[in-house]
């Protein structure tokens, strides 16, 4: 993670760092990309704000720094509704805001990285004869992962029609994986808490929702609206209602699972490192020994997060495959 947000404040005021501000500063989205604080000077990259309030307004986030007001807009201070977001000064309401925030920039950067990696890999296959050469370099690195996901996860879970869905599921897997990994990487352009942001996981879950429901077969819909249960469970539509709720809870669980896991990982790492700064005033012995412990624990947590980054991408892909597979089952009458 980055150096603590509140470190300078602690040094200036000789008070404890504000844990809430420190944690939220790292895990929430922001209008600028804060890199470090060096001798009281904040090193940050201002990002463009795009706000629809009385017409489109595009300006640099540096105009709103430290509570400044610009064209009737400001960033809501802590404690108010929409805290940390751009609001109208007049009534505190939120305009339509599609600013390029820290997370958006991180997403763009990670996506470019992902596209470059995968296209380099596919370029290898375009330029070489697979029957005569073994892949090396990026293709050699990515091929086993792609094959593992496609053959062991997608093919098994989706069933015979897996080819149609494998591009989406592979994209989702690598998209989540690269964003998870870049979230652990502590320096710019990593370190943004992208997959631990609910807006991101919401969109991923929505994509899966549409993949499942737009291409579900007749049997899938029959199972939801007129399942094979005693008539009284269908006449008063108990089962259909449960099934329809189930349609939404499945992607909802995907959204929450990824979000909560990645967010929790970030918070744990940040808290472990915060121990160093929290004990700064307790004397060199305690501070030194606890710093040592927290560095060791931080290394352990980083390794754990590497594992979690993969596992969460894997689980999201696997469950999406299973849901898609469920929408493509054939009834037992048909298969028998």
């Amino acid at each position: 993670m980055l150096l603590p947000w509140g470190f300078s404040a602690a040094a200036q005021e000789e008070s404890d760092i504000n844990m809430e501000e420190y944690l939220f500063g790292h895990i929430s989205d922001a209008y600028e990309w804060h890199i470090a604080t060096w001798k009281g000077e904040e090193i940050l990259i201002p990002l463009p704000c795009i706000v629809f309030s009385d017409g489109v307004k595009v300006f640099s986030s540096s105009k709103l720094e430290h509570g400044a007001t610009y064209e009737g807009l400001r960033i809501a201070p802590r404690g108010e509704a929409h805290e940390g977001k751009i609001v109208r000064v007049s009534d505190g309401s939120r305009p339509f805001d599609i600013s390029i925030t820290k997370n958006v920039l991180g997403l763009i950067f990670d996506s470019i990285l992902l596209i470059v990696l995968i296209l380099l890999c596919s370029r290898w296959y375009r330029r070489h004869d697979v029957l005569k050469e073994a892949p090396g370099g990026i293709a050699g690195l990515l091929e086993p992962v792609i094959v593992m996901i496609e053959q062991d996860v997608i093919k098994d879970a989706v069933g015979p029609e897996y080819r149609k869905y494998s591009p989406y599921l592979l994209t989702a897997f690598f998209f989540i994986l690269i964003n998870n990994l870049m979230g652990i990487f502590p320096f710019f352009p990593g370190g943004a808490n992208i997959t631990g942001n609910i807006a991101v996981t919401l969109v991923l879950a929505l994509f899966t929702f549409f993949m499942v429901n737009l291409f579900g077969n007749k049997h899938y819909w029959k199972d939801i609206l007129w399942p094979d249960v005693p008539l009284f469970l269908k006449a008063i539509p108990i089962m259909p209602v449960i099934e329809i709720i189930g349609m939404f809870t499945k992607p909802f669980s995907l959204m929450i699972r990824l979000f909560a896991n990645m967010l929790a990982g970030h918070i744990m790492l940040l808290s472990t490192i915060a121990v160093i700064f929290l004990t700064a005033k307790m004397g060199p012995v305690l501070n030194g020994s606890l710093s040592f412990v927290s560095v060791l624990f931080g290394i352990f947590l980083d390794c754990l997060e590497l594992l979690v980054a993969f596992i969460q991408a894997y689980v999201f892909t696997m469950l999406s495959s299973v849901f898609i597979g469920l929408a493509h089952q054939h009834s037992e009458k048909e298969t028998n």
Binding site: S28, K85, F96, S99, V147, T171, A199, V203, F207
Partner: protein
């Protein structure tokens, strides 16, 4: 709490970015890779099957070769045996013929010797008789003067001649 309320702006950008990534990767990325990998794994499967088939046919060929070799060996043995039998037969035949020829030659030599001998005897006999006639003539001319002796000699001659004729 801002943590669990999705921000519209981020949702918007996420839809755009993920959509673009999905489009690019689904069009130019993953299908090429997965198709190539599948092609290769099919190729490997087929190659393995072919290798198995080739191995079987090689085994079969080796078996056939062995069989042919065995057959050839027995044939060779048979031919050799026949040849040696023939050789023995030819040799025996030759020996027999040689023996017959030798006997023939011997016989004809003997016959020739016998006829030669006969000729020689006849010749000798003729000469002896001529000689004896001449001797007799000379003896008779000289000794006919004494009668007694002449008559006894003549009788002896006549006895001897008749005795020789009887033999």
């Amino acid at each position: 709490m801002s943590l669990i309320t999705p921000d519209i702006g981020l949702v918007f950008w996420m839809v755009v970015i993920f959509g673009v990534v999905f489009f690019i990767l689904a069009k130019f990325g993953f299908p090429i890779i997965t198709r190539s990998v599948e092609k290769r794994s099919n190729h490997i499967r087929e190659s393995l099957a072919q290798a198995e088939k080739a191995r079987l046919s090689v085994e079969e060929a080796a078996l056939q070769r062995q069989q042919m070799l065995d057959e050839t060996r027995t044939e060779q043995g048979r031919i050799l045996q026949e040849a040696s039998r023939e050789r023995d037969a030819i040799i025996a035949d030759g020996q027999r013929k040689a023996r017959e020829e030798a006997a023939e030659i011997l016989r004809s030599a003997r016959a020739e010797i016998a006829s030669e001998k006969e000729d020689a005897e006849r010749d000798l006999r003729a000469r002896v008789s001529a000689l004896s006639l001449a001797v007799a003539e000379k003896v008779m001319r000289k000794d006919l003067e004494s009668d007694k002796e002449q008559i006894s000699l003549l009788e002896r001659f006549a006895d001897e001649a008749s005795q020789a004729q009887m033999n």
